[in-house]
Symmetry: D2
Subunit: 367 residues, 4 copies
Amino acid sequence: MSGAIEKGKKRWRAGVLGATGMVGQRIVQMLAQHPWFELTEVAASERSAGKRYADAVRWHLNEPIPEEARKLVVKDVAPPLDCDFVFSGLDSSVAGPVEAAFAKAGYPVVSNSKNHRMEPDVPLLIPEVNAGHLASIATQKKNHGYESGFIVTNPNCSTAGLALALKPLADAFGIEQVHVVTMQAVSGAGYPGVPSMDILGNVIPYISGEEEKMETEPRKLLGHWDGKRFVDLDVRLSAHCNRVQVLDGHMESVSVKLKKKASVKEVREALRTFEVDDELAGLPTALRRPIVVAEEADRPQPRRDSDAGAGMAAVVGRVRACPLLDFKFTVLSHNLVRGAAGAALLNAELLAARGLLDGKAGKDLAT
Amino acid sequence: MSGAIEKGKKRWRAGVLGATGMVGQRIVQMLAQHPWFELTEVAASERSAGKRYADAVRWHLNEPIPEEARKLVVKDVAPPLDCDFVFSGLDSSVAGPVEAAFAKAGYPVVSNSKNHRMEPDVPLLIPEVNAGHLASIATQKKNHGYESGFIVTNPNCSTAGLALALKPLADAFGIEQVHVVTMQAVSGAGYPGVPSMDILGNVIPYISGEEEKMETEPRKLLGHWDGKRFVDLDVRLSAHCNRVQVLDGHMESVSVKLKKKASVKEVREALRTFEVDDELAGLPTALRRPIVVAEEADRPQPRRDSDAGAGMAAVVGRVRACPLLDFKFTVLSHNLVRGAAGAALLNAELLAARGLLDGKAGKDLAT
Amino acid sequence: MSGAIEKGKKRWRAGVLGATGMVGQRIVQMLAQHPWFELTEVAASERSAGKRYADAVRWHLNEPIPEEARKLVVKDVAPPLDCDFVFSGLDSSVAGPVEAAFAKAGYPVVSNSKNHRMEPDVPLLIPEVNAGHLASIATQKKNHGYESGFIVTNPNCSTAGLALALKPLADAFGIEQVHVVTMQAVSGAGYPGVPSMDILGNVIPYISGEEEKMETEPRKLLGHWDGKRFVDLDVRLSAHCNRVQVLDGHMESVSVKLKKKASVKEVREALRTFEVDDELAGLPTALRRPIVVAEEADRPQPRRDSDAGAGMAAVVGRVRACPLLDFKFTVLSHNLVRGAAGAALLNAELLAARGLLDGKAGKDLAT
Amino acid sequence: MSGAIEKGKKRWRAGVLGATGMVGQRIVQMLAQHPWFELTEVAASERSAGKRYADAVRWHLNEPIPEEARKLVVKDVAPPLDCDFVFSGLDSSVAGPVEAAFAKAGYPVVSNSKNHRMEPDVPLLIPEVNAGHLASIATQKKNHGYESGFIVTNPNCSTAGLALALKPLADAFGIEQVHVVTMQAVSGAGYPGVPSMDILGNVIPYISGEEEKMETEPRKLLGHWDGKRFVDLDVRLSAHCNRVQVLDGHMESVSVKLKKKASVKEVREALRTFEVDDELAGLPTALRRPIVVAEEADRPQPRRDSDAGAGMAAVVGRVRACPLLDFKFTVLSHNLVRGAAGAALLNAELLAARGLLDGKAGKDLAT
């Protein structure tokens, strides 16, 4: 880790693609207080480009727009930008080629979009789960002829909390089957997103593409990079995805079948005591213990627990035996923090700590 | 079936125990328009007894209090009452001995309470599912020395829709495993029930005793009476029960493992074409086809579909393959109608049609 | 009134402009059961034109799309259409010239849009309030050179219930000042309308243009046609308009200053006993007593009372003295029925009863 | 002001009466971080007395129970208690005599309850509005024979924000009439409080006793102490109180008639620039500018703005001319902070700063 980090001085300049969207706004807001990263560029669609950020954005967060962001002029979502790397909160309808263009132009791309997640040489990264996947970046660069640029992604918002909760179980006992039913918050659909006419007093039992993501992404996340390719974990998953009248926080009713025999107590302890190593614990956005096990019989609850660990914790409750698979529990995580903006930030921090943001991106502009 | 029924004249006099509660109110309201049953008695706790019903009840339904109920004087929940049979919407804290006392006193008791549901000689009845269980009544009478009285129960509100949707699958393909995650409406908790401070913008992942009921009641419901005892269906169930911010209508994400191989199309057709026989179809509250299969990708939804079939339908949607068990789907049913008041009414209608309400109950009072 | 009406046979063929919108859908649904009007044409924007109605519309009502509407092919919103008159639920961005074109082409236009409401020769009509304003139609025709066509409008959804409640007070006591604060339902904003991100657990104290309408429309509604022009009632109004998390039903906290002295009892009685004459009471959508006075201290409530009088009643509650003006009360009315679709229907019925729909519109197409 | 305050050392020991209630919990939580006050006693009803606080309380706040409170044993709500003064969050059914008993026993009582608010020698205090009312304490002591004890109250939760917003207008222009319509949060009704069955998708146009408080308390708050008695401000008020589906934050649509002519700009500036003096600004819970004027057309909103100024700000928006009175605006304040717990804390801080908590209360116990 470089000296600059230790001194706590902001060292890397960050751009945000899709900065006016719901996830982009969260990233902009989280960067304002960030010890390592300085926000130097915001980019968005043509409609916004050329305006000052404060004028272009319809701001949704309770905290005000950070001062350093207000004055930035929104750029087009195309290289070059004056920064060392970019976050991408782009809509999936445009993210694919744009992110590739930035990688090609030398920028590390830390993406929240789905487009490149399942590619055979792109890390789908949750640092606490599969930091080892970063080894694939070298192959990615070679495959695409990238020089200093590359793409790293984080999973879908409903996958994030699930994969985190499965990690200690996979490590300790092995997992064979996972059945998950989600109750997802409206903020996961962006803005304007879910019309109030649809969700008031209601549940919508369908979210386009969501079940497919939940049934595939955890296999890659919990798998490993064998030096040449990702080897999925051999686990079967089934997901039912529902939208509920909640603002933030995805709830999931999970049943798992393990490889090894275990007691409810052992499962609960594996979750409760799960810790990351010192490298990860030193990242600004990381928690030493990213899984919180709720004691009360009726927790977690999205309104009361989504902000646990500043939104980066997966809160698990009601660990008990399942008459069908082996165990069941409820897991909650903040879809915009652990499931999107915070996930991307943590990924960027790991890249920074490992020296992967020290390429030439933006250097020509900066000088 | 007696001539009286065919002529559409009200023939049986009904009492309602727990008439001021949420379920009791629904029964009172449904009786007002009933072609066979006349409401002659309302009974409730000491606090209400002696008052006129209109003064004793805090009415929650949008329809006004029926005229014939307004003027009734609330009686104690003890025999004798001036009626041929009683509905019981009593709280489970008191229902057990009270219902037994009415049966002892000669009254058929059509109960929505949980207390007697799992007893070895009490039918847990959904007419469309297990009308044959009524044969157990003779044994029940003998066991308890009841003369004309007996107890019949309907299942828990979250079990009702599930069991109905499982019935055609059990018949056509056999079922081995069922995994169900509920998203239940607040009206299921009665009044005042769930505090708004707990449920606004929230999900509560726990409902006391609910999962246990859902994991046992369907086994009895889908089993058979062998002449001496109930033989459960050999199916394993696992339930996660959640409370959501919905007024009426329990949603359930269901996965099932079948005994026989089937296609998604065959499963959907088995659900869609499920019909009851002429005896059942002739009951006033019955639907010829009690399962409605929604065509749209995002249905059923509680606010939009709970009233399907006047609240007596189970609405099924999103029938598809399950990567873990065999098939998955969503089922919705109205917790206060199909899951409580309507269920009790339908049970009473079947009893009436089979001559089981023609005992001596209340006859001494009536003359 | 013509013989055809008395026989209950559908006699007039109706077209609906903007038939795929929220108000248009309600009109289509209400026409399905209508004794006088037959739906023969649906028209909407270019995007929908040419499709069958069932394919073009995203249907929001709980009742299914009426059979006779499903099969209709959506037409452009331009004359000619095969009908005797048109309803207009068009967006105000296009309603102005389109409605004028239909009037020019010979069609009576019964409009819910704001565009022509305040014009000096267009009736802003609530039959129970100002049926006499229909006399202005002759002037309107002359002014614009219309032959059989003309335009009649109904007021804004938040004005409708207020004006109806003010009518008996204006008649009995005279009104000088009205202060109104609204709590309006999300369905008033159409679909997709209010994003759930904005309204969940929230109140929005602003609805564009709404306060201006509420401060002017009642003056015209409660005024009179002097043979040449509308003379406004000399009443001053002030409105605060808020959006709340309610599906249907606009609540309004109203304070009024009267011209004559009155007691709370007299005011309540004037509201409670307000009746329409036989001509109006004979219209299919009319109520003999369109104002319902709630007895309970905590009513009206939108979820429980919006459907009073099939959505055509104004429900008034809590009539009491106001320490500032003279009296205050709460009024609720269904924004999509009394405030839009039902209002238009009632207007058309009055036109029909008075022979004003018997022009030549569509006659050439029909033969 | 004493040296102890300046050194920032906790100096006064506080007890909380009604510590398990909604307001009591907030006070307990706010005391945990308080620079001057140390929580030494919690008292509640018999049901809780004798238990440890963590076991007795059903905790509703998102922040965990403070460590120093968890271990405290709940006492009866009767003197003596080991503290220098008490906060009272008692229910009004018991607060009257209990608070008097504490005053009699020598304890300054800082009460949120309504019981003593309107008494002729009890300050109804908002420090930013009427700090001068503290002069009445000497009279109160004499009247009741209190030695070191006395009672100070804060206004009703819906009055607090209104009175604060009216203060600069009363100072600058004089106020003659105020018309206010509230849209109040469910947390104002305590726990379990408003049943979800009542408020989901609904508005309730009635809150018992609330309108009366709003029509009288501001007269006292904005009046003055003439050395012998409180002289009310001569202002007439009218209130309509509604409950809406919001968690925290009371919204109010306000119209005011001023004594002096003013422009919208002058009114807005009077609100925007309202500042407290140095004594008040130095209190830990105080804001130099307790009124925030929102710029956006659609603010304030309860979900987004209730926490402004850590919940102690009154957020005013939409200042504009009123066609009926002179001006109208929307004001929002956090009902549990500015309207209850924070209000009481601020009152206690002012008492502390003026040496009014330095009596003998609890001194005998403490030594």
